[in-house]
Amino acid sequence: MMSKSKVTLETAEKLGLDSNEYKMIREILGRNPNFTELSIFSVMWSEHASYKNSIKWLKKLPRKGDHILAEAGEENAGLVDVGNGLACAFKIESHNHPCAVEPYQGAATGVGGINRDIFTMGARPIAQLNSLRFGDMKLERTKWHMKGIVKGIGDYGNAFGVPVVGGEVYFNECYNTNPLVNAMSVGLMEKDDMISAIAKGKGNPVYIVGSSTGKDGIHGATFASADITENSAEDLPSVQVGDPFQEKLLLEATLELNKTGAVIGMQDMGAAGIICSTSEMSEKGGHGMKIDLGKVPLRQKNMEPWEILLSESQERMLVVVEKGREKDVEAVFEKWDLNCVIIGEVIEEDRLYFYMHDELYADVPASSLVLGGGAPQYDREYSEPSYFKEFRKFSIDDVPEPEDMKEVVRMMIRNPNIASKRWVYEQYDTMVGTNNMSTNFPSDAGLVNIKGTRNALALTVDCNSRYVMADPDVGTQIAVAEAARNIVCSGGKPLAITNCLNFGNPYNPVVYWQFVKSVQGMAKACKKFNTPVTGGNVSFYNQTSIDGNVVPVHPTPTIGMLGILKEKNNQMSMAFKRKGSMIYLIGRSFNDIASSEYLATWHKIEESPPPKFDIEMEYKVQKVVEDIIRFSLVLSAHDISEGGLFITLLESAIPKCLGFDITTDAEIRRDAFLFGESQSRIVVSVSSTRETEFIDFMLQQEVPFSALGHVTRGEIRIDDVSFGFICDLKKEYMTGIENDLAE
C-alpha cells in the first residue's frame, strides 16, 4: 500500500512541491511525512488551493463596502445585501485546464462546481453567466473545444435548471491549445439564512453527503497548477465527471437541510476534495477533526486512503451538524435519496487525524494547510516587457484608410468576435426560473427579476483581453468600466465584482508583470465605481508549450459584475423601438483605432496601445446615462465596444429589424468613427416628442454628446450612401459562427 510508504524530495517534486516547501513540511510535522501526508500538502499548497503566488497582490484589492455581507476570502462566495432582507451570493471560477483536455466534462464540472459554491452558502442559484475564449476558429481543435464546451455547459446547467442570462465568447489564436472557460453563478437567499463554511463545537458530527467517492480528479488541483502541454491528455484521470441530476438533488436537499437549523457549517467539495473541506472548515473555526475514511461511501473498490482524501468526485458536501440533531439531518437526505454518512467528529485541537478504520494514516495541523495559515506565500519577480513600449509607437497615420467601407462592414459582421453568438446561447436554457427579463427586451447586462419585489439584478461578464495585453493596467480598468457601463445601460447601479484572473506561468517575469499591473488597474477602477471585489479565482499556467516554445495566453482578468435595479420599471433595452427616433452619441469619439477588432482583422495589426480611455470621463458618462434612464428621456441605450459605433448601431437595429441613417464626423477618419473602440461612449435613441427635453438636460451636463441621425424602417445609410437593408445584414450577422463551424 502506497499510503504509508516513505517519501523523498524526489517524490515531493513529482507532486509539484519544491525543495523549500518539502523542508517546511518536515518542520511543521517535526518528522518525515508519509505519502498520504505529502499528497495532502501538495494539493493544499498548489497554486489552485493556496493562491501562494497571487495572494500578496490580491490583498490590495478593495474589499469593503456597506452592502458587503461576506468579504473576499471569508466564505465560499461573496455575499451582497440587495435590499428587502435579501442577500445575493455570486462568484466566478475558471475550469480552463480540464476543458483543454476534455472539453465536455471539463465544462460541465465547472458549472457544477461554481453552483455548489453558491448553494453551499444556503442561496438558491437563480442565474448563470459564462466567459469563453477559444482559439482560431478555423482549427479543428478549436471547433472540438467549442462544441464540447458549449454542450458541456448546456447539458449540466440545463438539467440543473438555472438560466444562463449573459456571457461572452472570444476567439484568438493565443487560446488555441488552452481555451478559457470561466463560469459564474448567482444565488439569492434571506439575509439571515447564510450557512458558513466552518467547523466548531467539540463532538459535533461531520457528515459527507451526496455522491459516492471515486478515483476521478485525483491531484486535479495540482494538474490545474502546471503548464498544459501536448502530453496533458495523459492526465485525463485528473478530470472529473459531472452528474447534474445528483447536483439538483443536492441543491434541494441542502436548502431543506438549512431550514432544520441543525447545520453548524458546510462546504462543498471541489478541488482537493475531502482534504480541502476538512482543513478549511477546521481552520476557520479554530478546531480540528478526526475522520474515518473507511466510512466514506465509495463508487469503486480498492481505493487507498490518499485517493479517498484527494478525490475530486463531484456533487459532494461536507456538513458539520449540531450533535443530537442527526435524525433530522438524515431524514432530509433520505427524502432525496442521497448518501448521508457520519465520517468523523469535530475536535478541539488544531489537528486533522485521518484513519482508515482503526489505523491512522495522516496526522497534520489543519491550519498549516490553508491560505492565511501555514501555506507558503511568495513574492514573484516581474519586469516590464519590451513589447509594452513598442506597442505605444503605433500611429493611425501609418495605417491606410480603406476606400470601400461596405467591404469592411461585410467582413466585420461575419467576424466571429463580432457576429451573433446565437449558436452558443441557444444551446443554453436561458428562461428556466421565469426570471430572465432580457429575453424579450435584450439589454447590455442580463436582468433578473426578483419576484415579489420592485427590484431586479443586473449581471454581466466582461474582459477584452487584447486591451489587457496591450496595457494590463488600463486594459483591466476598461474591463471593470465596461462591466459597469453594461449595468448602467440596462438601468442598473453597479454593486460589486467577482473576478477570474487567467494568466500564464507566474514564474515568467513578463506574465507576472501583466498580473501585477492588471490587479493594480482593477483596484483603481473598483474604487472609482465603488464596486468592491468579493472573491473569484486565479488561474495561472494558461499557456501552451509546443516544440519547446512557450506562449502564454493574453492576460485575461474576467470581471463578473453584480448590479441592481431598485425599480424594475427602469429596465432599459438596447433595441431601437421605432422608425423616426433620433439617435445620439453620449461621450466623445476620437481619431482612434488602437486595439480594435477592425485593426486586428482588416489590417492584421495586433501591436497597438489600448483604445482611448479616461476613467474620470467614463464615470461622468455613466452618471449621465443613469439619470437619463431614470428620467425616461431615452428609448434605448447600448454601449460601444468591440466593432465600434457601427456594430453598436447594428445590434440596436437587429431586434426589431429597423435601420439607421447617420452622418459621420468630418474631424475624424471614417474608419475610426465607424469601427474605432475609444471607450466611454453610449448610443441612445430618443423619441421625437422628448428630444427637446433630452437636449436641454444634456446641455446641463459636463459630458459631450452629439446627434448621429435617426432610426429608419430598415435601410442602413451612412453619409447618404446605402449600406443595404437590415434583413440582409442581420442574416449574415446571425449565421456567421454557424457557417464557420460547418466549414
Binding site: G161, K248, E426, Y428, V432, M437, T439
Partner: protein, 237 residues
C-alpha cells in the same frame, strides 16, 4: 380550481409552474411528491418540465414508473385534466397516456428560444378560448422535442382534433422553416382521444408574467381554467 404539480427528482420547472398558477392566475396549488400516492383531491394535474430522474436513459422513461404516476394514470382514465409540459409531455407519451413519441431534435442539439405556435383547432380545453388565426409566442427549451407518430396515428389524430398546436412564424404561417426541432407536421402539442390529457413541448408558464414582457402562454393556461370553471358550473346546475 385546485391544481396538483407533480414533483419528480430532477423536475426544474416545478417552481415556475406553481408561481404562475398560484401568484399570477390565482389558483389553489398543491405539490405532489413522486413517492406519494395521494392526489389530495385536485381538479387538474400538471407534469412540469425538467429532467426527471436525470433523463439519462430516455426522457420520461423512468418517471412513468413512480408511485404518483399510478395515481395520475387512474385520474386521467377517469377523465381528469392532465397537462404535461416539455418533460411532462415526454412522460405522458412514455406512460401511454398520449400517442406518439419525442425524439432527439433534428439538429442533435438542445435548443432554447422564443418560438411561435398556432392552435390547430378549438376543440379542447387547452385551445378552446384561443384565436385560431393568432400565433402565440411561447418559448421552447429541450433536447428531445421532435414529435413523431405513425401515419395511422396521425390521420386518426387529425380527424379527431387531437393536434393542439403547430410551430409557425409570427404571422401564423406553418412551415418547415419555423420548426425548431424537426417535429412531424410541425406538431408542438397533442391530446388524447377523450381530450382530457394534453402534452406540449413549448412552455406556457414561461410566457405568463407581465414582468417578463410576454403573456401569450397565459392564454393557454387560462383556457384550461375557464373550461374547468364552466364545466363545474354546469355540473352543479
Amino acid at each position: 380550481m385546485k391544481f396538483g404539480i407533480v414533483i419528480f427528482p430532477g423536475s426544474n420547472c416545478d417552481h415556475d409552474t406553481v408561481y404562475v398558477l398560484q401568484e399570477i392566475l390565482d389558483q389553489e396549488v398543491v405539490e405532489l411528491w413522486h413517492k406519494d400516492s395521494d392526489l389530495q383531491d385536485v381538479d387538474a394535474i400538471v407534469l412540469p418540465g425538467g429532467f426527471s430522474y436525470g433523463d439519462y436513459l430516455r426522457s420520461g422513461s423512468i418517471a412513468r414508473f413512480s408511485p404518483i404516476m399510478v395515481k395520475v394514470i387512474e385520474f386521467a382514465n377517469r377523465g381528469g385534466f392532465v397537462l404535461g409540459i416539455c418533460n411532462g409531455f415526454q412522460i405522458l407519451c412514455e406512460a401511454g397516456l398520449l400517442p406518439g413519441a419525442l425524439l432527439h431534435n433534428s439538429s442533435q442539439k438542445f435548443i432554447c428560444k422564443n418560438n411561435y405556435i398556432l392552435p390547430d383547432n378549438n376543440e379542447s380545453a387547452i385551445n378552446l378560448f384561443l384565436a385560431k388565426d393568432k400565433a402565440l409566442k411561447v418559448p421552447v427549451a429541450h433536447g428531445e422535442g421532435r414529435y413523431y407518430a405513425s401515419e395511422d396515428n396521425l390521420s386518426k389524430m387529425r380527424q379527431n382534433g387531437q393536434i393542439l398546436f403547430r410551430y409557425c412564424n409570427e404571422e401564423g404561417m406553418v412551415s418547415e422553416l419555423h420548426n425548431p426541432n424537426g417535429s412531424i407536421e410541425n406538431i408542438a402539442g397533442v391530446c388524447n382521444e377523450s381530450k382530457n390529457v394534453f402534452g406540449m413541448m413549448p412552455h406556457p408558464e414561461r410566457a405568463s408574467d407581465d414582468e417578463l414582457g410576454n403573456t401569450d402562454g397565459r392564454l393557454i393556461l387560462e383556457s384550461i381554467i375557464r373550461t374547468m370553471e364552466e364545466k363545474k358550473v354546469s355540473f352543479y346546475n
